[in-house]
Symmetry: C2
Subunit: 144 residues, 2 copies
Amino acid sequence: MISQTTEYALRAIVTLADKHPQPMTTEQLSEHTQVPTGYLAKVMQQLTKGGLVSSQRGLHGGFKLVSKPKDITMLDVVRILEPLPRINSCPLEIGDHGTDLCPLHRRLDNLIAMVEKQLTSTTIARLLAEKNANKPLCSGRIKD
Amino acid sequence: MISQTTEYALRAIVTLADKHPQPMTTEQLSEHTQVPTGYLAKVMQQLTKGGLVSSQRGLHGGFKLVSKPKDITMLDVVRILEPLPRINSCPLEIGDHGTDLCPLHRRLDNLIAMVEKQLTSTTIARLLAEKNANKPLCSGRIKD
DNA sequence: ATATATCAAGATATATTTATCCTTTATATG
DNA sequence: CATATAAAGGATAAATATATCTTGATATAT
């Protein structure tokens, strides 16, 4: 439904947002998000290339959000890791036939559209505003 | 979002439904759905084990739907191939904390719930009723 | 400058998904 | 019973997703 990698990215962005505009290192992010450090490093690279975060090497470096949490939607994150593939033409057809998908693929595309809409309508700031017990992710391990 | 395998299964079920209650062989289904024959055979096995279709070996054998198209929902098909994993406890937490997910995972779970709801509300019969140009899938290659 | 902190990039490893092929088993029909 | 048909099952292969590790590049502080 939503890949592991994408879910990791969302965890990281939420965590960065909570500290915004302070930078966080991969190590710190890994602790907070419980994502394996090495893999998270790759995910952060993708988010950097995608323009969502900026990176800074060296002492006191790390990653930080390029925009404010209120200006980042969940879809902004998701689409960097796994562009939700809208169905524009039937996979069966030789050519395409515009909006004239068969009922099955019309439904499947509507489903994706619905998910996109939901993801677009939720900003990262909104997630922070709803946070429980002062924690943006529900881990008990966050060390403040 | 929805795996290739699941999408193949939906194609096959829709095709079977269109001919219901006639059985169709893997070969025939493969032609109609454009799914690789060998792989489709495996998918059909899963659908059989899942109880959605019955299989019959030998001459005039093949697969047919166990229930009527109007009694099969898209979710019935999807859940055999990839059980949509609802998020009941936070992936981060050591234990679980009931309905008290963090905002991020609450949203992600809601998303899955929404998809489930849509898939449940669409029967295969409904897809057939909407079919274009008398074809349940939009392939130009169906030989009637 | 030098030492330290930190990300970037590439190679490699493992798991899962997708796909193919071959042999075996079951069934219908002459 | 013999034969043809068709699914079941197992082995293998290829592609992709997930994960680790090492080395190199770059920024900071002293």
